[in-house]
């Protein structure tokens, strides 16, 4: 099962490095950040990048580098919590629906239709507005909408898998349907969902930043890239560094996740 280093596809390696580094920053932001990310220095408002502040300071005199680094914690959290609930719930429902087929599948089909017909962003915004802005509620909104996509993927895959002999073998061995579904089918059906999960993580960060832009995501003074970009938007000409560096961080992280997704897909494809 082990892959030698040179066998790992290049995208996976590169993406892994990017995301690995991101995770390190996310877990130990204080180790790398030179300043307190929320500390304001009224004497250093909007300073351009310098040795003291390699990425400059923002309009509150906060160190942009420190904020970008601390934002890793939040944005990696968004990537994780913004997807994991959809993922967990979606795969369970998907596996059950895919295995049961018939009426359950028909009803599920209609739900899927309804959810994908719903303007996604609008729904998320409406839900966040009902619950109140903030990351936790954003996660809830994402989960409410997002599980359908995972369920769809898993249901389709389980439908394929359940026709394979090992599923029948399980049933012929007298195993309960639950055991067959969750011990046998799901582990084999889950890979496309995992590939999607990785891409979805990148999308979650983007969505998080869009909601941050609308004031519905991370709350100040928390450093979050989307919010930072939105904050810096007014200073594009006079303080480009305020928005550009968080922008670079988003792009790099998104790139990392996508590369991992591509690489995983490749590995899993050849494995088959």
């Amino acid at each position: 099962m082990t892959l030698s280093l040179r066998q790992i596809p290049r995208p996976l390696l590169l993406g892994g490095l990017l995301i690995g580094a991101s995770l390190v920053l996310a877990v130990f932001p204080a180790t790398f950040a030179p300043y307190d990310p929320v500390a304001m220095d009224y004497n250093a408002l909007m300073h351009a990048p310098s040795w003291a502040h390699p990425m400059g300071t923002d309009n509150f005199g906060r160190d942009v580098l420190s904020r970008v680094i601390h934002a890793y914690t939040i944005d990696m959290q968004i990537a994780f919590f913004g997807t994991i609930f959809s993922f967990s719930f979606g795969i369970v429902i998907g596996a059950l629906v895919g295995y049961a087929g018939g009426l359950a599948d028909t009803i599920f089909g209609r739900i899927v239709d309804a959810v994908i017909t719903f303007p996604f962003l609008v729904l998320v915004i409406a839900i966040v507005s009902v619950l109140g802005p903030g990351l936790v509620n954003m996660y809830v909104a994402l989960a409410v909408v997002g599980w359908v996509f995972y369920a769809r993927i898993i249901a389709a895959e389980v439908k394929v898998q359940k026709r394979l002999d090992y599923a029948d073998a399980g049933r012929a061995m007298g195993y309960t349907p639950m055991r067959v579904i969750f011990r046998h089918l799901l582990p084999n059906a889950i890979t496309p969902a995992i590939v999607y999960l990785v891409t979805d993580m990148a999308l979650a960060i983007l969505l998080g930043s869009s909601l941050g832009y609308l004031g519905l995501g991370a709350q100040p003074p928390t450093a979050e890239w989307g919010v930072q970009i939105a904050d810096g938007k007014n200073f594009m000409t006079t303080g480009w560094w305020i928005s550009v560096f968080p922008g670079v961080a988003i792009v790099l992280t998104g790139l990392g996740f996508s590369l991992i997704g591509d690489g995983l897909a490749e590995v899993l494809r050849t494995r088959k």
């Binding site: 002999d165 029948d168 073998a169 012929a172 061995m173 007298g174």
Partner: protein, 331 residues
């Protein structure tokens, strides 16, 4: 072989797979269509024997095999295990039945869960059926691997690390783990290379002697079926058209279909080449079955009655065929 009570008795079972009807069809009350996979199969399986089931693709061999282990519930008719109708079993009784009648599958690549090590696969079987206390499981696994002639280090590998033949042995070990009386082997070796086929067939023969197993051997390879079966049943379009002791059936086939089948199988002897086509035409669709004898579309000997009346398999006799012609001859 003396007539004694069969171990498994299949009594006139049918099985159809309906196509899903959508809302529109339901609204218009259109009748649903279905694949008629089994159309009245009657068969006895005797204790200790190897019953071969042959037939062309799509004739319902697998469906029958699945009905035997209750992977499918048949639409009508019964499958009796001893005296009990297996359709009535549930819960623990059903589990017990599943343990007694085990199935081994055709495709060595898909019949094992690719995410489980061999040890996990066997442990699961042993523990779910409470065959052994937890402490004895490793010893039993070693025993099983030995039984199917796999090395001990196989236990900690994943299925994809084995060749096809080895995988089939793992499948056999899994089935044997629950100490069954009957093994239903669906195309056990069809996917294997010739040289490996022989290994698995030899293993099966040895195990049968050693463990007194009853084997239902489903295959489309006539040579193979002939080699290992005591009795053979020939299926066509979801019906058993002929059943009989191996020798009798192969040397003197009664049904025109059996005859065509035997003629079509290429002889291993280059000297006995023929250029005559054994059977013309193709299998009719199992969705719209022909009227009368199911074989009448391809039968060179079909006569009027064959198009009107579907011949039944005679109720008694060691070697029987569902054919108007042979029945007429006998009479």
């Amino acid at each position: 072989m003396t007539e004694m009570k069969p171990l498994l008795s299949v009594q006139d079972i049918t099985k159809a797979f309906p196509f899903p009807r959508d809302l529109l069809q339901r609204l218009r009350r259109q009748p649903g269509q279905a694949v008629h996979a089994l159309n009245g199969v009657t068969l006895d399986i005797r204790r200790g024997e190897t019953l071969g089931i042959v037939g062309e693709s799509g004739c319902g061999k697998s469906t029958l095999a699945r009905c035997l282990v209750r992977l499918h519930d048949c639409d009508s008719g019964r499958v009796l295990f001893g005296d009990t109708d297996i359709a009535t079993l549930s819960g623990a009784a059903r589990r017990a039945f599943n343990a007694k009648v085990q199935m081994i599958f055709q495709d060595p690549y898909s019949s094992l869960n690719p995410r489980m090590r061999v040890r996990q696969i066997l442990t699961e079987a042993l523990s779910v059926h409470r065959m052994r206390p937890a402490a004895e499981i490793p010893a039993r696994i070693a025993e099983l691997l030995d039984l199917v002639r796999l090395p001990m280090d196989a236990a900690d590998k994943y299925p994809h690390e084995f060749s096809g033949g080895q995988r089939q042995r793992i499948g056999i070990a899994r089935a044997l783990a629950v100490e069954p009386q009957v093994l239903v082997a669906d195309e056990l070796v069809s996917a294997l290379d010739v040289s490996v086929q022989a290994q698995v067939v030899n293993l099966l023969l040895a195990l049968q002697d050693q463990l007194h197993l009853t084997v239902v051997f489903v295959a489309h390879d006539l040579r193979l079926v002939r080699h290992i079966s005591h009795r053979v049943a020939v299926m066509y379009l979801g019906k058993v058209v002929e059943v009989g002791p191996t020798e009798a059936l192969f040397s003197a086939p009664l049904h025109p279909y059996t005859q065509a089948l035997l003629a079509a199988a290429p002889e291993i002897d280059p000297a006995r080449r023929s250029r005559r086509v054994a059977a013309k035409g193709e299998l009719p669709s199992p969705v719209n079955l022909p009227q009368g004898c199911l074989f009448n579309t391809r039968c060179p000997l079909a006569f009027e009655r064959c198009f009107k009346e579907r011949p039944a398999l005679p109720a008694s006799g060691d070697h029987r065929a569902a054919c108007h012609l042979t029945q007429a001859e006998k009479e």
